[in-house]
Amino acid sequence: MSEINTLAFVKMFLHLAKYPELAVNGVLLSTRTDSTKDEVDSASYLNFVDCIPLFHGVLSLSPMLEIALSQIDAYCSTRNLTIAGYYHANENFSDTNPNLTAARIMEKVRENNPNAALIMIDNTLVDLDDGSRFYNVFLWNDKAWKNTNDSHIVGDESRLCALSLLKRNQHRQLVDFDNHLDSISNDWRNPHIQNELQSIPF
């Protein structure tokens, strides 16, 4: 079972809107649950509360991924969060399959969190015309990725907030890790997006 809050949903959406012609990826953070039991519990609950957009364009170079993950880990420790999901949008419009890059990064993410989910973006649904779902949620179960869309919850207001921020051109303000490395005054935590969300009346 998994749930995503408006902040995480909107940041992921804005990342896609900023680079419509490129492959993009990023991670989703969830609150750290008490992990005294080590078993991989496929019925565990993932609550995505934040999103850190990573890269756009070329996603398969490892050095900057290592840097990004180390910083995000450090950020997570200060907030009792953990990397619980990885989202990936392919460059090709109609390709929704996880490629080698997605598989490799998921391996790494699952080393630290075996319950982590793989979120593959469906580019054809990103216009949010038909509803809120623009991605497929996969959990690793029985040596395969199982589609768990049916047990994934998205709040109604997420879609409205996403479209509202898009209209205000907030996608141009979104910072991913690549932007940060280009100029470190760009803050990959995107506090300004959170502020924008709070200024929406509903």
């Binding site: 419509p20 170079l61 290592e66 180390s70």
Partner: protein, 283 residues
């Protein structure tokens, strides 16, 4: 209107990809105006709006611009015909687009732009291997085409073929050795392959050209750490390796200080996270 025209000019010259903004400018400012006062620039603008409209799936705007271009330059214009091909690409009619491009190439097989559009067609249909093969053939003829080498590099990277990607990156280095981005890209590809020595060399050469390249500074930290770990694994009683490790350590500290300084100057509240992160990497 003048500022809109200037903005569009800037976007054309500097290859900006803000297609949604360009369409906004068109819809709100320029589409109702008479552009004849701009002279020849009118046609450049129409072409630019056409391409951005395709990017934004605004086919009707694209069609409007196209009709004006076709009227002016007639169906015999290769440039206009190529645009027509791009239109069919954008609506997914790949066969029609391919027909147009093949015909253009029959007429003039040296047309590099059309050849590259054919390769884009392959990419759009997710025929990456074919695209790589065609692009290789293209580059045998047009060896100095940086855009093509860069595209081939990206295609190889998407297949995780780091060796061939490195070869493309090397070609780019040869063509333009003064671009710090070329050095950094090459270093990162070598790092991804596990060749930390080479990666380090080129992160340093990046910094020689541009001392503020943050990726290169981080690259020094990563490569120095990995190289130090490697020598720890081997016989560490050798005098050389101790000296080596010391200089690796010094350089890593230097890079670390450079990075810290930058964060202090620009985003100090990220500093604790950065410090903690670097520490976890270098342990």
């Amino acid at each position: 209107m003048q500022s809109a025209v200037e903005k569009l000019r800037k976007y054309r010259d500097e290859n900006y990809r803000s297609h949604d903004e360009i369409i906004e400018i068109w819809t709100h400012v320029l589409s109702n105006r008479n552009l004849s006062s701009l002279g020849d620039e009118k046609w450049l603008i129409l072409e630019q709006i056409f391409k951005s409209a395709l990017h934004c799936s605004k086919q009707s705007i694209a069609r409007q611009c196209f009709e004006q271009l076709e009227k002016k330059f007639k169906k015999t214009s290769r440039r206009v015909t190529t645009l027509n091909g791009m239109y069919f690409e954008s609506i997914g009619e790949f066969e029609r687009a391919e027909e147009i491009y093949s015909l253009l190439l029959e007429d003039n097989e040296t047309d590099a732009i059309v050849r590259k559009r054919q390769i884009s067609l392959l990419k759009e249909q997710n025929q990456i291997r074919e695209a790589i093969s065609q692009l290789n053939s293209y580059l045998e003829l047009y060896q100095a085409d940086q855009e093509a080498w860069s595209e081939l590099c990206d295609l190889y990277l998407s297949e995780h073929d780091y060796t061939k990607a490195a070869f493309c990156a090397e070609e780019l280095l040869l063509i333009n050795p003064h671009n710090h981005l070329n050095h950094e890209r090459y270093a990162s590809i070598r790092y991804s392959q596990g060749d930390y020595e080479k990666a380090r060399t080129y992160y340093f050469s990046t910094l020689k050209i541009n001392p503020t390249n943050v990726r290169a500074l981080y690259g020094i930290i990563l490569t120095s750490t990995n190289l130090a770990l490697k020598t720890l694994g081997t016989n560490s009683k050798i005098q050389n390796s101790n000296e080596n490790n010391q200089s690796l350590n010094e350089q890593m500290q230097w890079a670390r200080e450079q990075i810290m300084q930058k964060y202090i100057e620009t985003t100090p509240d990220l500093l604790p996270i950065i410090e903690s992160a670097i520490q976890s990497l270098t342990l």
